[in-house]
């Protein structure tokens, strides 16, 4: 049973990413969308949350990075960039989807 977790707010605004990472089961996937993409940048206030979560796979929505003028070169190592097609594929490859709102 694998779960895709979506997080749509940054760690500067909410603690949903921290709650998600704390509670997600091993092998789960986390997709950062909307303002959540700020948390994918290295050197952020809570970068260690992602850097230390070795049991989870992290993805970020490319169009939302671009919309904010952020560079993919600044992403935390290991985060994969997906487009909307990739977003849909993640919802298919996992058994269910949970939005951390």
């Amino acid at each position: 049973m694998s779960i895709l977790h979506t997080v749509n707010k940054s760690t500067y605004e909410r603690d949903t990413l921290e709650a998600c990472v704390r509670l997600a089961a091993k092998g789960g996937s986390v997709l950062l969308i909307e303002d959540g993409v700020y948390s994918a940048m290295s050197g952020g206030n809570k970068s260690s949350v992602i850097e230390n979560a070795k049991d989870l796979s992290f993805y970020v929505l490319g169009p939302d990075i671009k919309a904010r003028g952020l560079g993919e070169d600044r992403l935390i190592d290991g985060i994969k960039v997906v487009d909307y097609k990739g977003f849909v594929e993640l919802t298919v490859s996992n058994d269910s989807v949970t939005a951390w709102l």
Binding site: T6, N8, I33, E34, D35, P63, D64, D83, Y84, K85, F87, V88, E89, T91, V92, S96, V97, T98, A99, L101
Partner: protein
């Protein structure tokens, strides 16, 4: 695969309505079926036809309506949330003695049971909100 979508945030608020639209488009392009989109809380404001955004801006409500027509998608607005926010169809207009109605083409007003059914009938329920 059969998808249903829940939208809990109003249009032109943050971004979730547009994210949901982009997701629906990508899912349809990949050959998936969208069984239902359920609009809950402020999300019901996606279903008004009284909005007039600037012409060079995205018309979110109209985009939903066009998507529904093109791909036969059931757009359902939560009745209790709609009554609080003034989203009115013919039945609500009559029942609550309103002067007019503002439900967008392709949307219908119904109850929370429709969300539960969507969750049961669909392979995936994807939630977008605030």
């Amino acid at each position: 695969m059969k998808f249903s979508i829940q939208v809990s945030e109003g249009p032109y608020n943050h971004e979730s309505s547009v994210t949901a639209i982009n997701f629906v488009k990508a899912a349809v392009e990949a050959g998936h079926d969208i069984f239902r989109v359920f609009f809950y809380h402020d999300g019901v404001n996606n279903g008004t036809n009284y909005a007039t955004p600037p012409q060079d801006d995205m018309n979110i409500q109209k985009t939903w309506s066009e998507l529904a027509a093109a791909h036969d998608i059931d757009l359902v607005v939560c009745v209790a949330a709609a009554q609080r926010r003034g989203i009115v169809d013919e039945g609500e207009m009559t029942r609550n003695k309103k002067d007019g109605m503002n439900i967008m083409d392709g949307f219908r007003i119904s109850g929370l049971g429709q969300l539960i059914e969507a969750g049961i009938e669909s392979d995936r329920l994807v939630v977008f909100g605030d």
